[in-house]
Amino acid sequence: MKNNIEKILVGKKKLWIQPDIPFGLLEIDFLDCLSKNLLLNKKAKSFTDVISFAFWCRRKNILNIKKNIYSNEVRVGLGSLFHITPSNVPLNFAYSFVFGFLMGNSNLVKIPSQNFLQTKIVCDEIKKIMKINKFKIFEKKNFFFKYDSKDINFTKKISSQVDGRIIWGGDSTVNELKILKTKPRTKDIFFADRFSLSVIESKKIMKCNQKDLTAIAQKFYNDGYFMDQNACSSPRIIIWYGKNNDNKLAKQKFWPQIYKIVKKKYSLEKTNAVEKYTTLCEFAGKSKESINYNNFKNLVYRIELKKININYINLKNKFGYFYELNCNKLEHIKNLITEKLQTISYFGLKKDEIKNFVLKYKFRGVDRIVPIGCSHEISFIWDGYNIDKQLTRVIEIR
């Protein structure tokens, strides 16, 4: 095992497997301590993702989560978990770890192969806290390491030993890991490639005063530009809900606000600008219909479509690139709700409206319906899974 591991960031090589009851007090203490340390860490200050993680794992929030998913069932952790996290997201591993840890499991966590400072900051703090006497037990139960994911034999070996696997990284990683043999009772959570969209009610935008408008624009920016619009929960298509004329006016009011924020906050890398432009040219070349296009100095690409032909959209649009569609009835976007659709984020219209629409047609897609601004708020319910239930087993007692 040793030879395959490039770097051990935290933990002992021999993993101690001892399933535990979810939401253990010591675990919550540990996470609260981690939260405090991260918030005090000077190096962490400039990283919003580290700060959000720190807030997320503080005691108050964890107790809140516990309250929300409380049930009378007697549950216990599966045992050992193997976390395969994406190589290009700095802190996905940290959330994945907390899921497993808090549910009473021992964790083998693959750290992103790229050297992110955020990853190091969090790992260093975890390591430090695990040296505290009362938390020493966690050092035996958790292992953070880097290895070359192309080394399939190593992945195979770990897969064959653990009680559960959490596999991020999209279709290609999922497919690679799906074919590996695991123990018969090993539970897997697969996170496949997904896409997301936003629905905005035009009338509501029309009614916004400047303050409201700035607020919703900021929320939209957070959703649309986080992780370069390349997360599965990033909106790639914007649905304008209302009469055509209202939609037109709402767009005129809305997009300049977005541009204002993007100009101030987003840094567009040169290669990404070229890639975005390439995606546009490819789409334009293949598209049969006339397209209205606006680019706000390259920072916000808006492609207005009369109808969406999902075949022409590879849904790889990122770095601030949005397809737009008018609709005055949700029924018009039925063909977009495929099994690949993860999140519908909304503004204006009531959530029940979307809920009723989704329930009426019983689509195979849509796992999340959340207000704009909350697209990336990760929780124990994610991508259609109750993660807490997946990572524990229930003991039936009568």
Partner: protein
């Protein structure tokens, strides 16, 4: 027609004002031509023209990104007129880019390349040492960038000799034969920058040579990713070649497969690449605003040659910087510039591994 006229002039003959009119007209004409002949290109122009921008200068024309030749089929000639296909040596899983040449386009490329290269090697064909291995065509008339460049440059040479055999080993026996026969007079050494570095500078054992390379004119280009990784500058590259082989005449060239023929050769006197009467360069920032001289940004290249595919106006992912125009100390007209390598790819974030 334009090419036939221009071919009578030196590639560095015109200053800004003389070039401006015919070049703009030429690009305009090519844009119209491709718009008529290539549907995918026409569609792309449609979207870009939505802003109703007026064409006042070269910078106002819609450019295509290099990668688009991997994603769309772009040709402006009938299938039965295609005589040659250039494909990029794409990595597995990624679509290679495809460039279709008809006879006119292929001829133009050859003529213009000849014209540009004659300024450094003269009009006489010289013996040619190719720092590479002979390659076989897998598919008739299909060339990758490497083969195309070797083939393109080969016409300036005679008595071609490939330094490497099919097993990629240095063929000392025949190298010495070549040197004995030709090294007393001028001869050409041609290869990709990385291949030359690896084989001439690193691998070749001087003690096995019977003659030196002092009369060699070394022409190299492309494939500098490796040197960038090793942090070998152009200057150091030259120093190493001089130190080991006494080669003084070293010419770096820069160009795109999409614009083969109208390449940019580094002037020996000043060390800058120069645009020619067939080509032009514009530098842009990440918002695609045009940058002034001495500012680093994305390199956009224009060429009057591509007629069988819409490659006359291309935005690359290379970073460059225009130093000046028409006032270079070396005396050549045109814009002179530096290439600083590929734009840094900030690691793309996101949920799926790429």
């Amino acid at each position: 027609m334009l090419i036939e006229k221009l071919i009578n002039y030196s590639p560095y003959e015109f200053t800004k004002n003389k070039k401006k009119k015919y070049f703009l007209k030429g690009i305009k004409k090519l844009t119209k031509h491709h718009q008529r002949k290539c549907k995918n290109y026409r569609n792309i122009l449609k979207i870009a023209n939505n802003e109703n921008k007026k064409i006042l200068g070269l910078e106002d024309f819609t450019f295509l990104p290099t990668q688009i030749f991997k994603r769309l089929e772009l040709k402006s000639t009938a299938d039965n007129k295609i005589v040659k296909k250039l494909v990029s040596s794409g990595t597995t899983g990624v679509q290679p880019s495809k460039i279709y040449l008809d006879k006119k386009n292929a001829d133009d490329q050859r003529k213009v390349l000849n014209k540009i290269m004659s300024t450094i090697i003269g009009n006489e064909r010289l013996p040619m040492l190719i720092v590479d291995q002979p390659s076989n065509l897998n598919e008739k008339n299909t060339f990758n960038a490497r083969m195309a460049a070797i083939q393109g440059f080969s016409i300036f040479g005679r008595d071609h000799f490939y330094l490497l055999n099919n097993k990629s080993q240095i063929d000392y026996k025949n190298l010495n034969k070549f040197l004995k026969k030709f090294s007393k007079k001028k001869f050409i050494i041609f290869g990709f920058t990385g291949t030359i570095y690896e084989n001439l500078i690193n691998r070749l054992l001087k003690k096995n040579l019977v003659k030196d390379f002092r009369n060699g004119i070394l022409i190299h280009g492309g494939g500098w990713k490796k040197l960038e990784r090793l942090k070998i500058s152009n200057k150091k590259f030259k120093q190493k070649l001089f130190k080991k082989f006494l080669i003084k005449d070293i010419y770096n060239y820069y160009g795109l497969v999409e614009q083969a023929g109208s390449l940019f050769v580094e002037s020996k006197k000043c060390g800058y690449f120069h645009s020619t009467i067939f080509s032009d360069i514009i530098i842009r920032d990440e918002n695609f605003n045009v940058l002034n001289k001495k500012k680093r940004g994305l390199i956009q290249l224009l060429s009057l040659l591509p007629s069988s595919y819409p490659g006359h106006n291309i935005l690359t992912e290379d970073i460059g910087e225009i130093i000046g125009e028409d006032d270079c100390s070396c005396g050549l007209s045109g814009k002179y510039f530096l290439v600083h390598g590929r734009a840094k790819n900030s690691e793309t974030r996101g949920c799926s591994n790429i």
